[in-house]
Amino acid sequence: DTAVSQTPKYLVTQMGNDKSIKCEQNLGHDTMYWYKQDSKKFLKIMFSYNNKELIINETVPNRFSPKSPDKAHLNLHINSLELGDSAVYFCASSLIAGGIGETQYFGPGTRLLVL
């Protein structure tokens, strides 16, 4: 069973479109995260939710809007896609937020290409 899953795995779309990425975890964790990894492998946190409450909101364009319908799911909606949004987006989860030695478990990533 996949612990953290994301759909879709690949997303190719035109500039200006709106798209969503979905994430689900079956680990029973309270906290979920969205990360963006650029072409140089630099991984940067975007958002985090703890039990459906937004707790980390980094400096991200407001075209990006996360939503957590329940603590097992975290979605990312992106409006008016731009070329610079092309990246790999990773979802992650952890048992709690900020626990000592807390492990974050990452999903397989969604490769977004904006043309």
């Binding site: 492998k41 707790i55 709690i96 937020a97 000592i100």
Partner: protein, 114 residues
């Protein structure tokens, strides 16, 4: 200046070599230090974490932290082709308002050739 700087590599070594991967960080508030390994087209996975200066060993892997110089290292002994991956250092101050926010280095691509 980035909060965490990591030698980007790429690094190519023969099988059996000792590999040294390094990061420096700027904020002394960071207390917990991690190494993640990311295979091609996969998500990162936690390899090791430590929270104090000194060494922590796990099999062929040793994580080393020097808080006085804000320097963290990962050593891989007897490297294997299966170690070929991108290695990402990560730091956090854990607890409080950090909410588990990890700050990553830019990753080092390692290739171990037979």
């Amino acid at each position: 200046q980035k909060e965490v700087e990591q030698d980007p590599g790429p690094l190519s070594v023969p099988e059996g070599a000792i590999v040294s991967l390094n990061c420096t960080y700027s904020n002394s508030a960071f207390q917990y230090f991690m190494w993640y390994r990311q295979y091609s087209r996969k998500g990162p996975e936690l390899l090791m974490y430590t929270y104090s200066s000194g060494n922590k060993e796990d099999g062929r892997f040793t994580a080393q932290v020097d808080k006085s110089s804000k320097y963290i290292s990962l050593f891989i002994r007897d490297s294997q082709p299966s170690d070929s991956a991108t290695y990402l250092c990560a730091v956090t101050n854990a607890g409080g308002t950090s909410y588990g926010k990890l700050t990553f280095g830019q990753g080092t691509i390692l290739t171990v050739h037979p």
